[in-house]
């Protein structure tokens, strides 16, 4: 436990994912782009499953997408999230052609639907950790 009492699971950046987490600190959603064949992939991982290259560059995503599917959590599986219940988790098709997961904030549950346009926003969770969140577009 740290002095700001952050009691949620804390990501541990790896050599493959550190640029992703660092990008979030600067309010940028960075995606891996294969330096061999150009394919974009997410979540961050060491090898391109199209050409087996391990060389990557990082590109900034537009931060726009559409809800592919979603769920609303009503039960505190993890104690640290108890105060946020109920919260929406969404799987989103980004414009770049990959899917990402995040919490969707501020949407009226009645308006939640597959295909809902969303944009990526950023939330400082604690010192040294910014998480991406999703907001309904428009």
């Amino acid at each position: 436990m740290t002095n700001d009492s952050y009691d949620k699971p804390m990501p541990e950046p790896t050599p493959d994912s550190a640029p992703y987490w660092a990008g979030l600190q600067q309010h940028k959603l960075l995606l891996q782009k294969c330096a061999g064949c150009g394919r974009i992939r997410h979540y961050p991982r060491p090898m391109c499953d199209a050409c087996y290259s391990t060389d990557v560059t990082w590109v900034e995503a537009a931060g726009r997408g559409k809800v592919h599917s979603w769920t609303i959590t009503h039960h505190a599986f993890v104690p640290g999230f108890r105060d946020e219940l109920p919260y929406v988790l969404a799987t989103v098709d980004l414009e770049e052609g990959v899917r990402m997961n995040a919490q969707l904030r501020g949407a009226d549950p009645v308006s939640l639907r597959i295909g809902l346009p969303v944009r990526v926003d950023y939330e400082r969770a604690r010192e040294g950790l910014t998480l991406p969140i999703l907001r309904a577009e428009g």
Binding site: K8, M10, E12, Y43, T71, H74, F77, V78, E84, N101
Partner: protein, 418 residues
Amino acid sequence: MPLPADTDASTPKYLRDKYAIVGVGETVYTRGSGRTTRAMGSEAVRNAMADAGLKPGDVDGMLSYQGVDSTFGPMIAGDCAMRLNFYMDVFGGGSSTEALIGIAIGVMEAGLCKCVAIFRSMNGFSQVRIGGTGARSAAPVSGDMLHTRAYGWQSAGQSFAPTFMRYMHDYGTTPEQVAMVKVIHSEHASNNPKAYYKKRMTVDDVVNSRMICKPLHLLDCCVETDNATCIIVTRAEHAKDLRHTPALIRGVVGRCNKPRMDMHYQAGPISRVAGWYAKDILWPNSGVGPEDIDVTGAYDAFTFTTMLQLEDYGFCGRGEGGDYVSSGIMRLGNKRPNNTSGGHLCEGYTHGMNMVIENVRQLRHDIDDSCPIGPDGKRQHTYDYKEGGCRQVKNVEVTANLGWAMPGTGSAMVMRRG
């Protein structure tokens, strides 16, 4: 070097019916066992040996699966006075049952041992809860969990829910249709003296129970329990010296996967499950198809998992899962009952073992319900499926188990009466 012309390298069909499940056993399904996984595991293995009529020297192989929540095989084997010629403890949960049966066949075919006891022992309620609460929620976030757990996305229900939601969206399936899985399994459980939940439920009970993670209500979720289970596999020819009619193994699929099974939602239709791929191994290897199956054991971690698997294995057409599970076809007395024990939703959560055990007993025509025991020591089944009544399906010849780990991974097995 080329193979001789008379060698068919794809030989699974030659193993059809060559191996059999000859013994099954379990401990009581409880919440708060007050016992170690070693105590329960040894008891389950002992019970399965007694069920088969096997002595310690007859069992020389052991397999188990666990998620750092159980006792390893050597302790259980030692307690059961076995000297093993082969053992392996593997990591995993749901879908391991059928996969380990396949491994058992493989190691026996390779000559490593002659008779394998497969066990799973878990204090799934009082110690490590697979639902993700308790000790599991405190684990550090690493690997692929970076993109789920940091956002409060952890339990099995949460991670499967987007698959269920997308399926409902694409095919217009209603929560009331899916709730029928729980209703029917609860009817079956009411005829199972071992079941943890024996009360019959209604569709209203399910859809009015509290929401856990939409679209999953509390009663769409299985009941985490403490228990141990054991299945003993050996060559079918050895079964004639043993106590029961063997359950012959026709074909097995072990941990078959969707593409990118590390994060299944990344590839293909999110609502498609591993059974879509597994069916192309299961049916050809077994030499039968869905229409030949008398009883199914479609893994019910959640009501939805039963439905999605039955559909992707071909028991109904694409998008027809809701109609299938709400039609009543899965009910005792009807065409193709599913999970006659009550399954994970009602009997207890065993990571798949109890659904195979149930089908073994169905194939023996000797299910352990409340029917009276006759002078020959066998139950006199009434085939009256009223509450508290019979659970034996008439004239069962062929069963199918459809095991689930997650949307991206599944196992399956067809058995027939020996």
